[in-house]
């Protein structure tokens, strides 16, 4: 296995995060209520997304957007979100005008949907958006694979 592949990078980071989460909340035999579980779920999900984004670093728009999103979910996010929104708006208008110039596919509706799905895709033209989507899908499948196996091994206890 390639020691520096995306999968290994993600796995190491994710496991580190998981250990941190588990250490933080001692999941004992006591029955965790749904609220606790939900909290833990949120943490784990954030950990998974974050570790995936970190494994990709800033090489991809979606990873940057994910990291940015995760960072500015804190209460001081108002300023940050405003800044981000304005930046996104300028870029999206430029991208939109660019796309409209060459209206080669009438599927701009779907493109918009895809833009919403892929983080950071709001301000990209279709060409790059498809590229990002491909990479994003690849990373998502990796993420799923690791999560899957982790869950499996955890379940076998």
């Amino acid at each position: 296995m390639n020691p520096s592949s995306l999968k290994s990078r993600f796995t190491t980071r994710f496991l580190r995060a998981l250990t941190k989460i588990n250490a933080h909340k001692p999941i004992s035999s006591s029955s965790p209520g749904p609220g606790e579980i939900f909290q833990r779920y949120r943490r784990i999900k954030v950990a998974a997304d974050k570790s995936m984004a970190y494994s990709v670093r800033s090489r991809r728009t979606w990873s940057r957007a994910t990291l940015w999103r995760l960072r500015t979910r804190s209460p001081r996010s108002r300023l940050a979100t405003h800044a981000r929104r304005s930046w996104v708006k300028t870029r999206s208008t430029r991208a939109a005008s660019h796309g409209k110039e060459k209206k080669e596919d009438g599927g701009t509706v779907e493109a918009e949907e895809l833009r919403e799905l892929v983080p950071g895709g709001e301000a990209m033209d279709l060409c790059n958006l498809l590229d990002e989507t491909a990479h994003y899908i690849k990373c998502l499948t990796t993420q799923l694979d690791i999560l899957d196996r982790q869950e499996c091994t955890s379940r076998e206890l």
Partner: protein, 549 residues
């Protein structure tokens, strides 16, 4: 530096048209990354090889950028960034890549191992760092440092015309002459940086050429590297420069004469001036930027060759893989390269900024308007990417048309995201294993066993596919969940509840547990039902129960 720093130099693909609005954003990211890279570069010397490996592989595989073998191969994940990028490179860069590779492999044999790796790492880092803004397409534009051998151009042209053959085979016959060319070019290159830096008042680097000692060379390169990094915010040509600087230093270190070939130097420096693009060599103010059409074409192939050279810092182990990739890329690129390398200038008069990067010749019977040309290039790129996505997304092989494909892709991405949420929820409920076994998680056999059911079940019946695929230990669920009917919700619920009882061992809170699960389920199922509406007709057609692809 941790391993993550190494990733920074991987390239990103950007449309050439997006240079305008992407450049400013890129620069900030890149600058930060670049600064980190240099510091990381030196420290990562010993481990430079895998990086160079990734970078070189990727650079070679232009048309393969969307080849499934590269994308899906886990060990090539690093190539991903490169691969994506070089679509436009592929269209433009000739097979000089093959040349570059062959030459550099032959050169490499004579280089000191540590310095070699250091150069690899550093240059690849630099390239990567610089390449980030290049993604906008400036990349071919400001290649200036390459030796202006007309013979080299001819060789490049010859290569492109011979293209179909196996590049691996071409290594030996062309290796020697190419290496010679490179050597002389390299000597010439050493002058270039000196001029540039001298013009900028960087006295420290002036010692580069004269210094034969390893220490000075490495220091100078480091300084040059840092200086270049700091200054060259918008000059993507700097990566070539530093790449060539490194190469030049390497060759100097090898003991080659400081000015092996006067004529080459003169030619180089002269041509270097002639090659400058406005945004190119930052600080190279002394060099005139005469930009005639003829020089453009020359620069083109030189750029291509330069790209190869700059990216070509690889250990010989690359050769086989690169050969295959080159071949692939070369074949795919053949159409555009044949269009391009006719020895004449092609760029339409209007819109020079756009056509600088890719010289596309108007095909017979097609409009030669620059707009339509660029549009055609764009369309081809998009269709290329769509084809690649078609391979990635299961169940899309029979889909034609952009809109439907996009719908399928959207569905797939949504289902993947939901699956991630689902799995993380599951992880939240189970008691975690205290000893996390990384090797176990990365083991490949499990991948295949798992990937089998999840991929064959396909995704168009994605209403139920995700969930049964997650429980291979309960194969009965597959059959239960396969029929794509309205009873999916019930099936999923049943499967989950049965799993809960087995999982939690009959804990009291199983009821409580099922509630958050049900909420998730509702979200997922509703989403799936909602989004699968457009693709319902497709679902009907395919043979559902057997688990199609």
């Amino acid at each position: 530096m941790d391993k993550g720093e190494k990733d920074k130099y991987e390239l990103e693909n950007r449309n050439e048209n997006s240079i305008n609005y992407q450049a400013p954003v890129m620069s900030s990211d890149w600058q930060f990354g670049g600064a980190n890279l240099t510091s990381a570069g030196m420290s990562l010397v010993p481990s430079g090889n895998p990086l160079a490996l990734g970078s070189s592989c990727a650079s070679a595989s232009v048309a393969d950028s969307f080849g499934s073998n590269l994308w899906e191969h886990p060990s090539n994940s690093q190539n991903l960034g490169f691969c994506g990028i070089n679509v436009q490179n592929g269209a433009s860069s000739s097979n000089a890549m093959g040349i570059g590779k062959s030459t550099l492999t032959s050169l490499r044999s004579g280089v000191d191992r540590p310095f070699d790796m250091g150069w690899n790492a550093a240059s690849s880092m630099l390239k990567g760092g610089f390449f980030l803004p290049n993604t906008t397409g400036i990349l071919p534009q400001s290649l200036s440092q390459f030796p202006a051998d007309s013979s080299f151009i001819e060789r490049a042209a010859r290569f492109s015309s011979f293209n179909g053959g196996n590049f691996g085979d071409m290594v030996s016959p062309f290796g020697m002459p190419e290496s010679m060319g490179l050597y002389t070019g390299g000597m010439g290159l050493m002058r270039g940086p000196e001029d540039m830096f001298a013009a900028n008042g960087m006295k420290s680097v002036s010692g580069v050429e004269s210094q034969k000692s390893k220490l000075n060379v490495t220091e100078a390169t480091r300084d040059a590297c840092l200086q270049v990094e700091n200054r060259a915010k918008k000059s993507p040509g700097n990566d070539r420069r530093s790449g060539s600087l490194f190469r030049a230093n390497e060759e100097a270190k090898q003991g080659a004469g400081g000015s092996g070939n006067e004529s080459d130097e003169a030619e180089f420096s002269g041509h270097d001036g002639g090659q400058d693009e406005p945004p190119s060599l930052d600080g190279a103010g002394g060099e005139p930027s005469a930009k005639g059409l003829s020089s453009k074409k020359r620069k083109r192939s030189l750029q291509d060759a330069e790209i190869d050279q700059a990216k070509g810092g690889q250990p010989p182990t690359e050769a086989a893989k690169d050969g295959a990739e080159n071949q692939h890329k070369g074949e795919q690129k053949q159409t555009t390269s044949v269009n391009k390398t006719t020895g004449k200038q092609v760029s339409p008069a209007s819109h020079p900024p756009k056509e600088e990067y890719i010289h596309v010749r108007a095909r017979r019977g097609q409009a030669t308007n620059s707009h339509s040309l660029a549009e055609r290039v764009r369309r081809e790129k998009i269709s290329e990417r769509m084809k690649f996505l078609q391979d990635i997304v299961p169940g899309c092989s029979k889909v034609t048309g952009k809109a439907v494909m996009l719908d399928e892709i959207i569905n797939y991405v949504q289902s993947l995201q939901r699956q991630v949420e689902f799995l993380s929820m599951k992880l939240a409920t189970v008691n975690p294993r205290l000893d996390f076994n990384i090797e176990g998680l990365l083991a490949k056999d499990i991948i295949q066993s798992r990937a089998g059911p999840s991929s064959t079940l396909g995704f168009s019946p994605d209403l139920s596919v995700g969930y049964p695929a997650l429980h291979p230990s309960q194969p009965g669920l597959f059959q239960a969940a396969l029929p794509v009917t309205g009873s999916n919700t019930d099936v999923i619920r049943r499967s989950l509840s049965s799993q809960f009882t087995s999982m939690t061992g009959g804990l009291k809170e199983s009821n409580q547990l099922s509630n958050p699960w049900e909420d998730e389920l509702h979200n997922v199922v509703q989403m799936n039902y909602g989004t699968s509406a457009p693709s319902d007709d497709l679902n009907v057609n395919g043979p559902q129960p057997s688990g199609n692809t």
